[in-house]
Amino acid sequence: MTLAAPSAGTTGAGAAGPVIRAVDLRKSYGDTHAVDGLSFEVTSGEAFGLLGPNGAGKSTTMRMIGAVTTRTGGELEILGLDPDRSGPDIRAQLGVVPQQDNLDDELRVRENLLVYGRYFGLPRAQVARRADELLEFAQLADRAKARVDALSGGMKRRLTIARALISDPRILLLDEPTTGLDPQARHILWDRLFRLKERGTTLVLTTHHMDEAEQLCDRLVVVDKGRIMAEGSPAQLIREHSSREVLELRFGSDRNEAAAETLAGVGDRLEVLPDRVLVYAADGEAALVEAHARGLAPITSLVRRSSLEDVFLRLTGRSLIE
């Protein structure tokens, strides 16, 4: 069975226009500016990411897109509607996967889908049919009657995603969908999300995992302290803000600074971190040969592709996960 495209829904946005449009979006709590002038657009069928560390304003942005919290300033349109005025109409077209699972432990797995579907005003028979399909999709069909608290973290996450899909949403919002999951659970989840993306569901996700952003996002914005630092596809961001390869050298925590001085001029740029020195270069192997030629003997060395982590480090001077 193939996954049908999401239904057109009842709101005003055409297929060609952006499904989300934010202009100078702001949200303040007292003197704290959680979101400080974000501007971006998301087109239909796109997988769009908000990448940033904890406290960057990603979740607050998601809550505004999800039409559960009002903005302090700027403009925001979801499916052509203003979330501050048309919250219920917008939420009827959204699926939301929160950062922290909020499944009902008092209900069984399938029941969680049934009660949630009713919130969208769907007929019981339709909700029941769709719940069974989604349990298959989430690979939880054999757990339909299980208690929620008996599920693993990855299963709960998949159930939360299945729940978010019960209304066949046009946009799926995922707030750090794989945080806290083991690698295998993350890969299973990515596979499910990738299938949704192939089907044409618009995905908007926040993450502070670079590999997740690279796996899932067509385009992303790097956010820090409520502001956009850069925008583009993962490959584009790496190309524009980092080198092709990165050489990681470890000399021991008290010798990195001195080693960095010796490495001056090697590669395009150097970054000294508490535990290692990063050499940004088009050819990492050649940079390693040059380091040895200058008499350096690192404890460990690693040549790898440049990643979004390097982009973030370059843009903010800080690591994504601190």
Binding site: A8, T10, D89, Y116
Partner: protein, 281 residues
Amino acid sequence: MSAPALPAVSTPTAGGSGPRRAPRFAWWYVTEHLLRGMRGYLPTVVATAIGTPVVYLAVFGIGLGALITENVAPAGSAATTYLQFVAPALLCMSAFALASEEFSFGIALHLTWRKVFEGTRATPIASGQIADGFVAFVAIRMVITAGVYGAVIAAFGVVPLGAIPALVLTGVLGGLAVSPLAVYAARIQGESGQFAIVQRVIILPLTLFSGTLFPLTQLPIFLQPIGWISPLWHAAELGRFLAFGPSGQWVAALVHVAVLVAVAAGGWIGLRVVLTRRLER
């Protein structure tokens, strides 16, 4: 690490009729959800609903009732035994106890501990409708509990069967007047024993000093205001009047109804406001 091999899975189809904006009565979906959750502990609910009145009737009818031979009912009342005096109040007490539990722990459970209401808020349901649905759920639970209580006391011939529906409604109204507690519970971000204190310092004294087990006038005058402000006293007095009279005290009965309706409405509206603030920050 490479992705694990995945079995072929079917994928969901688009729904026949798309999601709609939740209608005005969407609060019922919240109630429906909560009632479904209650099914998990239904045996406990039923056993408690039946067991509690039986135990209380035994204690007050066979035990304490045998010792209290004086008629403590007001002049003109058709109640002639202590058990008849206390039975309407006990029915109201059962609803009061349930309401005080749901309006404290129940709110915390769904709003703060399990954050179920946050999930609900992500749907077309409005925060106010979540409050409405929760209050309706508590009311239904009280109807069940007070209804069973009423059936038991009617079966024992303590209260006329015809008075039971009015008594159940009185109990539910008295329980809904505990809803200001829900406003407090919804404001608490992290529960660290506050509810235990509320139960011991507020709910228990209100239960004991509300003219339930003895007339309020037995208390020294300086303690009687505890009863006057207690929804349970108003409900118990109203229940006694509806079950046994005296028939001429309609004005007092209407005052009890007015107080209970006012407090219940205040709590309900307050819960809508606080839930909206909590869920839409």
